[in-house]
Amino acid sequence: MQTALHAHEREHISTFSRQKRRETLVGYSFVTPAVLLLIFFLVLPFLLAVVFGFTKFNLLRPDKIHFTGLDNYKLLFTDGLFYKSLWNTLYFTVTVVPVQSGVALMLALLVNNSLKLRNVFRIAYFSPVVTSMTVIAILWISLYNPNEGLINSALHFFGISNQPFLRSSSQAMNSIIFMSVWQAAGYQMMIFLAGLQGISKDLYEASSIDGASKLQQLRYITIPSLYNVTVFVLTITTIQAVKLFVQPYIMTNGGPENSTRTLALLIYQQGFQFRNAGYASAISVIFFLIVVLISFSMKKFLRDK
C-alpha cells in the first residue's frame, strides 16, 4: 500500500508535495486539541499507573511508596485468581461479542424503516441501556432467583427442576452473559442504525427495479455497506466486554467461587477495596498488554477496504 502511494506520488511530484505538506499541517492542527487533552488526562495518568506498577503503594500510606522492581509482576504470575479472572474475561468476551453484535444488527434492521411507531420501538430496545442498573439488577436477580424466580416457574411448566443460575459456579457466567446481551444490545443497535442511515436509498431503489428480494438486498447491499461500521461495533464491543465490571459487581460480586470474577473486578478490588494500588496497577498493565496483543492479532479486520 505504501509503495503504491509512492508511485502515485512521483507522477504528480510538484503539486503533490506542496499539497502533501499542506495536508500534513492541516492534519496535525485537526488532531492537536484532542491529542493534547488525551495526553494530559489519559496517557499521563496511565503512565503514572505504569510507574505505580513497579512500586509498593498502599493508598493509605502514600508517603511510604517505594520501588520494588518486578515484585508485583512476580506475585501476579503466581496468583491463581489472576489466571482465573483472565480466563473468565476471555470467555465472556468471546461469547458475548458475536451474539450481542448480531442481536444489535437484527434490532437495527427491525427499526430501520418507515413504521409509524418506529421511534417507540427504538426507545424500547434502547431502554435497558438508559435504565439504571439498580432497577435492572433487582429485576434480573428476582428473575434468576433459585428458589422462586419467574424463569424457574417457567421451567417447572416444562417439567425441568429448579436451576441455581447466578448462585452456581457453573451457571453464573452464562447467566450474566445472557443478561448482558439483553442489556447492552440497544447500544450497538444505535450505531448500526446510524450506519444504516448512511446507505444511499438509490442503491435499494435500483436493486428493487432489478427484482432483488429483501434478503438479497440485505446480503448484497446492506451488509457490505456496513463494513466500516461493523469494524467499529466489533472493536468497541470487544473493548467493552474485556472491561466487564458493573454486571458481575452488582449481581454476583465475582462469585460463586470466583466464577464471575473479571480482570476489571480484580483491579477494583485490589486497588480500591484492598488499597494495594501498586499491585492493581501491575494487573492493569498486564491486562492492557494482553488486550493490545489480541487487538493486533485482529488487526487485519481493521485494515480498511
Partner: protein
C-alpha cells in the same frame, strides 16, 4: 399487498421484542407511582406492571428529601458541556484520521484504539493526582475537561467519515474551500446520524457518572443527580418508591434527548448530499 404483509410481520416482531426490552423501564415508572408496600409484594406477578393505586407521594417525598432540580441542572450543565465540546474536538480529529494523509496518523489511530482499553478504575487515582496538582478539585473543570476528548468518539467519527466518498471532498477543495470549511459545510451536514449517535452515547455514559464526581467534589454545589440518587440508598429502611421516582425523573431527560435526536436519523442524507 406484499408490502402490507411485510409491515404486519415487522409490527408483530417489533411488538414482541419491544415488550421483552422495555419491561424494566415500565416497571420502574409504574413502581414510582405505587405505595411503598406494593412495589415488592407485586413483584413476579403481572400486577407489578399495573399501577392500580396511583400516588405521587414518592415524587413528593423524593423532592423534599434532596434538591432535585439543582442536581438535575448540575448534571445537565456539565454533561452538555462535555458532549458539545466533545463533538467539536473529536469529530475534527476523527475527520483528520479518516481523510487526511499525514505522517503519524496511523500511529495516533492505533494509540487511540489502545487507550480505549485502559479501564477507568486503573487511572482513577493517578488522574485524581493530576487534577489535584492543577488545583481543580471542587471545580467544574475537574468534572468536564478530562472527558472532552474521547477515544471512543474519535474512533466512531473516523469509521463513519471513512464512508464519505472522496470525490465530494475533492470537488470542494477544487472549488477553493479550505479544509475547515470543507469539513463544516460538507462533512458535518452529511453526518447527522453519527453526530446524533455520538452525542447520545457520550451523554449517557456521563449521565451515569458516579465514582469520579465523588472523588473531586465535596459539598452540594457541584453535586450531580447520580450522587443525589445515592442519598436514598444510604441507610435502611430503603424506600424503593422514592428511588423509583428519582430514577424515573432522571431518565426522562435522556428519553427526551433521544426523541429530539431522532430527526437526525433520516435515511438517504448521503445520497441527497451527493446529488446536491
Amino acid at each position: 399487498m406484499r408490502n402490507t404483509r411485510t409491515k404486519v410481520l415487522l409490527y408483530v416482531l417489533n411488538i414482541i421484542m419491544s415488550l421483552l426490552f422495555i419491561i424494566p423501564l415500565l416497571w420502574m415508572v409504574v413502581s414510582s407511582l405505587k405505595p411503598e408496600n406494593q412495589i415488592f409484594s407485586d413483584l413476579s406477578s403481572l400486577k407489578s406492571l399495573l399501577p392500580l393505586h396511583i400516588t405521587l407521594d414518592n415524587y413528593r417525598m423524593a423532592f423534599e428529601r434532596i434538591p432535585m432540580m439543582k442536581f438535575l441542572f448540575n448534571s445537565l450543565f456539565y454533561v452538555s458541556v462535555i458532549c458539545i465540546s466533545g463533538l467539536g474536538v473529536n469529530s475534527i480529529c476523527g475527520y483528520a484520521l479518516a481523510k487526511l494523509r499525514f505522517r503519524g496518523s496511523e500511529f495516533i489511530l492505533v494509540c487511540i484504539i489502545a487507550l480505549m482499553i485502559v479501564p477507568f478504575e486503573s487511572i482513577l487515582m493517578p488522574l485524581y493526582l493530576v487534577i489535584n496538582t492543577l488545583h481543580w478539585v471542587n471545580t467544574w473543570f475537574a468534572l468536564i475537561v478530562p472527558f472532552i476528548a474521547n477515544c471512543f468518539s474519535i474512533f466512531m467519527f473516523r469509521q463513519f467519515f471513512m464512508d464519505i466518498p472522496n470525490e465530494i471532498l475533492e470537488s470542494a477543495s477544487i472549488d477553493g474551500s479550505g479544509p475547515l470549511k470543507t469539513f463544516a459545510s460538507i462533512v458535518v451536514p452529511l453526518s447527522g446520524p453519527v453526530f446524533a449517535t455520538v452525542f447520545i452515547l457520550d451523554f449517557i455514559s456521563h449521565w451515569g457518572d458516579f465514582m469520579w464526581p465523588i472523588l473531586v467534589t465535596t459539598g452540594e454545589s457541584l453535586r450531580n443527580i447520580q450522587l443525589g440518587i445515592q442519598t436514598f440508598f444510604t441507610l435502611p429502611p430503603i424506600y424503593y418508591g422514592q428511588i423509583m421516582a428519582t430514577l424515573t425523573f432522571t431518565t426522562v431527560p435522556i428519553i427526551v434527548l433521544f426523541l429530539l435526536l431522532q430527526k437526525y436519523y433520516v435515511q438517504g442524507i448521503t445520497s441527497a448530499g451527493i446529488k446536491g
